[in-house]
């Protein structure tokens, strides 16, 4: 469905992506792993059209997306849930969710909001609270819920486990799986390689802006080198 082919991109003067190729097929969870500065977030930002690649192709359903704007991507159903949550701290929980549905004009917004509340019952309790007053874990839930409000076909998740208590991490990963089960493809960027490989179908490992390794998550997980370098075993 979504395809990157030999993408090069610069972050300021830093050559951040040096030829990344990857693919997100329909309905799958794909994880994108690697250390700090390996180019994971840059890849997501290329897909969300916040960064214009210098070279390479980026296609969605066979159509080049290189001339689209960030809001076009949202319209196409490619929605990113950014790193560090980035909820709107001064808006209420409900307003944050409404912003997620900003592009939509259909009547089902209210229904979808209820659905988000069933995923994350805690958010419902805090409906009229300002998002800035939520705890980190709740903000992460809100961020994911906000992305869901845009009816994503592909959800790009950037480090959903960052700085969150272990118990919440497993809860959030459970929900990610659930979202996927309902048919949304997911591109998951994670520092927590172990966790990410556990739920994903296929994994890419980035190093220095290049794809260093790729393969079925199950295979990679059992790969000795991967275990040594990324899983800390």
């Amino acid at each position: 469905m979504l395809k990157l082919n030999d993408v090069h991109a610069f972050y300021g003067r830093v050559h951040a992506l040096r030829g990344v190729s990857l693919e997100v097929p329909e309905g799958k969870i794909i994880s994108l792993l690697g250390g700090n500065g390996a180019g994971k977030s840059t890849t997501l930002n290329v897909i969300s059209r916040l960064i214009q690649p210098k070279e390479g192709n980026f296609e969605l359903n066979g159509q080049s997306m290189l001339k689209k704007s960030p809001s076009d991507m949202v319209k196409q159903g490619v929605i990113q849930c950014p790193e560090n949550r980035r909820v709107f701290p001064l808006l209420t929980v409900e307003e944050n969710l409404k912003i997620g549905a900003y592009q939509r004009k259909d009547k089902n917004i209210q229904l979808d909001m209820e659905k988000v509340y069933t995923y994350f019952p805690r958010l419902k309790e805090r409906k009229i609270q300002k998002a800035g007053t939520l705890s980190g874990g709740e903000q992460q839930m809100l961020a994911i819920g906000r992305s869901l409000m845009g009816k994503p076909k592909i959800l790009l998740l950037d480090e959903p486990s960052l700085g969150i208590a272990p118990i919440l991490v497993s809860e959030i990963f459970k929900i990610i799986k659930e979202i996927n089960n309902e048919g949304t493809a997911i591109l998951l960027v994670e520092q927590n390689a172990h966790m990410a490989m556990s739920i994903s179908d296929y994994s890419y490992i980035l190093e220095n802006g290049r794809v260093a390794l790729e393969g079925n998550s199950e295979d990679l997980k059992n790969d000795d080198e991967v275990r040594k370098l990324y899983l800390g075993a």
């Binding site: 969300s48 916040l50 319209k75 929605i79 909820v87 592009q103 800035g132």
Partner: protein, 288 residues
């Protein structure tokens, strides 16, 4: 009483200008020092429609406001867009640069002689109790509160308002949610320029049409915005009224020469007690 009344009228003028400042600041995070000069240019343009083309008051007003919108868009597209993510000081200095350019150009084009400008509503002053008030002043009072209310509601309850508030807080996240942030900002500058235009056109009959007409008003509008907390629309207007009245009380009871000095002393005092302004949100301690 009469002093209070005229203080309120000037307060409205400050408040109107402050509304534009706060609107632009609230959405785009830029303190626009050129707000007053943009208003001045719009007012001159409306005067050109009035006197050179001989249009009526209302058509001239509308045409001038259309001009203001285009003007605001142009300023955002040509200049401000490029400093949107620059450090605040750069933004301030760019608007100061615009201030100098606009002021200088207006001087070259329209000269420096104060000219009279027609009032929105004509008529002799009315006596209400012991207070004299002209219909035009009543009109200014009404339009200020009307605009304040409109924009307050716009921010609070509409989809566009929501997008504006979101863009103000996090540009990247807003883009990721499909908001065209640049368009939202351009629109904000357009609306800000229109608000400025209204303020200018309301001010001109009182201060006369002149390249300097908005300078003092702008400074007081700043003070008003700051007292109001810089992000609150009602705060801006109430801050304006507060300053207008205070200034007149000082002028009457202490010394007309020192009203500016005392006004700023008061502001420093207010800010010392409440560093975030009267209507500013709670000061949030940075999470560490």
């Amino acid at each position: 009483m009469q002093i209070l009344m005229s203080g309120l009228i000037f307060g409205c003028i400050y408040g109107l200008t402050a509304l534009g400042l706060v609107l632009i600041y609230k959405t785009t995070d830029i303190v626009n020092f050129a707000q007053g000069e943009m208003a001045m240019v719009t007012t001159f343009v409306s005067f050109v429609f009035l006197s050179n083309f001989g249009f009526g008051y209302i058509p001239s007003l509308l045409l001038a406001l259309i001009f203001a919108a285009i003007f605001g868009i142009a300023i955002h597209q040509i200049v401000m867009k490029r400093v949107q993510s620059a450090p605040p000081l750069n933004q301030i200095v760019v608007t100061l640069g615009l201030f100098m350019i606009l002021n200088g150009m207006a001087g070259l084009i329209w000269g420096h002689k104060p000219t009279s400008y027609p009032q929105a509503v004509k008529g002799d002053s009315i006596k209400l109790g012991s207070v004299f008030i002209t219909p035009n002043e009543l009109f200014i009072l009404c339009i200020t509160f009307f605009l304040m209310l409109i924009f307050f509601l716009l921010f609070r309850f509409t989809r566009v308002g929501l997008a504006m508030r979101a863009s103000a807080q996090d540009i990247k996240a807003s883009q990721l949610m499909g908001i065209k942030v640049t368009s939202v900002f351009t629109a904000t500058w357009a609306v800000g320029a229109i608000l400025g235009g209204v303020a200018g056109i309301m001010t001109a009959p009182i201060t006369f049409l002149d390249t300097q007409m908005m300078f003092e008003v702008l400074i007081m509008a700043f003070a008003a915005a700051v007292i109001g907390g810089f992000v609150s629309l009602p705060g801006a207007v109430i801050g304006g009224l507060f300053i207008g009245v205070f200034e007149n009380l000082i002028a009457f009871y202490i010394s007309p020469e020192m009203k500016l000095v005392y006004t700023f002393l008061l502001i420093i005092l207010v800010l010392y007690i409440r560093p975030q302004g009267i209507f500013g949100g709670k000061q949030t301690l940075k999470k560490v």
